[in-house]
């Protein structure tokens, strides 16, 4: 069902956890759909210094969370904002069709965290 890349990220998820006193926090999803992601950022000079996630969800949800942290680590905010859910799915060599919409929220969590950071620093 899942690509090898998805299974790799599911089995060895990168950057699990929560950054204490994060510069930005994004929580998306809801329990009815079975996917909840919380992403925390540490940002310095507009650059993402650190990123961590916690996810309640299926294999795709966990893998996309892990993948998005890998994609944005070290990027500056503008670049990170360009990342979409599709970018994440592509980076994982695709997701099963049924997962494309419901479990592919990691970029949303990222954007929510960046928004949170911007609001705090306005």
């Amino acid at each position: 069902m899942y690509s090898d890349k998805v299974m790799d990220h599911f089995n060895n998820p990168r950057n699990v956890g929560e950054i204490e006193e994060a510069d930005g926090t994004g929580s998306v999803g809801n329990p009815d759909c079975g996917d909840i992601m919380k992403l925390t950022l540490s940002i310095e000079d507009n650059k993402i210094k650190d990123v961590k996630f916690k996810t309640f969800g299926c294999g795709a949800a966990i893998a996309t969370s892990s993948m998005v942290t890998e994609l944005v680590m070290g990027k500056n905010i503008d670049e990170a904002e360009d990342i979409s859910n599709d970018t994440v799915a592509e980076a994982l060599d695709g997701l099963p069709p049924v997962k494309m919409h419901c479990s592919n929220l990691a970029a949303d969590a990222l954007h929510a965290a960046i928004k949170d950071y911007k609001e705090k620093n306005n």
Binding site: P31, D32, C33, I36, T55, F56, C58, A60, K99
Partner: protein
């Protein structure tokens, strides 16, 4: 590493004995049972012999058995067939919220067609209330369809009493016995049931064959119109090999049921108790109701079912989940939601359903590998109490 299969409510292997019985009908005896020449004779007899075996298994007469292509088709034929046959008498149907989609979707369809359907609630243990059932009966009620045992929780419904109530009110009673068949004894001769569904692949016969018990005198409008097959109630050339497989599987189930029940009861209890002992924050779904002895449905708090299944799959262990992510739909299982479980708990449920070849060793292996999987998933969960700041959603 050996594969371990704890998903027998999803499907079962074809037993060797069943396969051996089917084999001739895929090889030399491929004739059409409707043919009057030599090629049709053996297949025709094989279909009728199988009908006798299924009838013996269900305690009825062979003329009361209609072969179909699946449990789903049998449910459709029992429910729609009866509804259309009786639509002049009334348009009200009673069922439950926890039926299989084969029943629920059929009822939903009938609602669009002008029928009214009452979906009975279940309590937190997955059990219906007979008082509710009685209250929902109306003069125009033509059909009660309540499953014999639930596929997700294993909860066994009081079909004897339901049958009695239905009979008192002269209402036809259909029961989906797909999960009960082969696990607990079913005897239509002592039950007030008019229509009863079984499916081959849930009792060690192949996929693509089912049967419907139709009590003599029960009129049905066909769902599949065609030739004179199955006494004009189901058109289509018979799946001879599949039907033979179902007949043989029913014969074996009759023969082995007592022995298998004891074995399954023992290992399923061991599995459930083992998990209870080793994993905190779990719920045994339907644990307070009478249940099939092979089914244990457990919700793991804070985590989602599919991810647990993937973890088990790494150990070649197969089970299933009430998670939406495993069903092709976007909703978590309607069964647990109907039992009042939260969406999280429904998403986080795993069904272990054991079968005749499972062993104590397999169960013990599961009990060993499961706790660390749950632990790992929980450590990643934003809902877990161990989390700094658990996410709380308003509902």
């Amino acid at each position: 590493m050996d594969k371990i299969y704890f998903d027998h409510n999803a499907t079962t292997p074809v037993l060797d004995e069943v396969f051996d019985a089917m084999l001739p009908y895929l090889k030399e005896e491929w004739g059409n049972p409707s043919s009057i020449h030599w090629a049709g004779r053996v297949p025709k007899k094989a279909v009728e012999d199988a009908r006798e075996k299924v009838a013996a298994f269900l305690g009825c007469s062979p003329v009361e058995i209609i072969f179909t292509s699946s449990g789903t088709e049998s449910d459709n034929l029992g429910i729609k067939g009866l509804a259309y046959a009786k639509k002049k008498k009334g348009n009200h149907i009673i069922t439950t919220k926890v039926e299989h989609p084969a029943v629920l979707k059929t009822c939903k369809y009938l609602e669009k067609e002008g029928f009214e359907v009452t979906y009975l609630n279940v309590d937190e243990e997955g059990m219906i209330d007979l008082g509710d059932l009685k209250e929902s009966i109306r003069p125009e009620t033509i059909l009660i369809t309540v499953m014999y045992a639930n596929n997700e929780t294993g909860v066994i419904f009081p079909v004897e009493e339901i049958g009695r109530i239905a009979k008192e009110h002269k209402i036809t009673f259909h029961t989906d016995a797909v999960q009960a068949a082969g696990k607990i004894p079913i005897d239509t001769s002592s039950l007030d049931v008019d229509l009863l569904t079984i499916s081959g692949h849930k009792l060690y016969a192949p996929k693509g064959v089912g049967a419907l018990f139709v009590r003599r005198g029960t009129r049905l409008v066909p769902v599949i119109h065609g030739g004179h097959h199955e006494r004009n109630r189901r058109g289509g050339t018979e799946n001879v090999a599949g039907i033979v497989g179902l007949g043989t599987a029913c014969e074996i189930a009759t023969r082995d049921m007592e022995k298998e029940r004891a074995h399954l009861e023992k290992i399923t209890k061991r599995l459930e108790n083992g998990i209870i002992e080793r994993v905190p924050d779990i719920h045994i779904n339907g644990g307070g109701s009478p249940r099939l002895m092979n089914t244990s449905n457990i919700s793991f708090e804070f985590i989602e079912g599919e991810s647990i299944l993937l973890g088990l799959d790494m150990h070649q262990i197969a089970a299933s989940s009430g998670s939406a992510c495993t069903s092709g739909s976007l909703e978590p299982t309607h069964v647990l939601l109907a039992m009042g479980k939260t969406a999280e708990l429904s998403h986080g449920s795993i069904r272990f359903s054991l079968g005749r070849t499972n062993t104590v060793d397999e169960v013990d292996l599961l009990i060993d590998v499961l706790p660390p999987i749950v632990e790992r998933m929980r450590s990643m969960s934003p809902l877990y109490a161990g989390s700094n700041e658990p996410v709380v959603f308003k509902r």
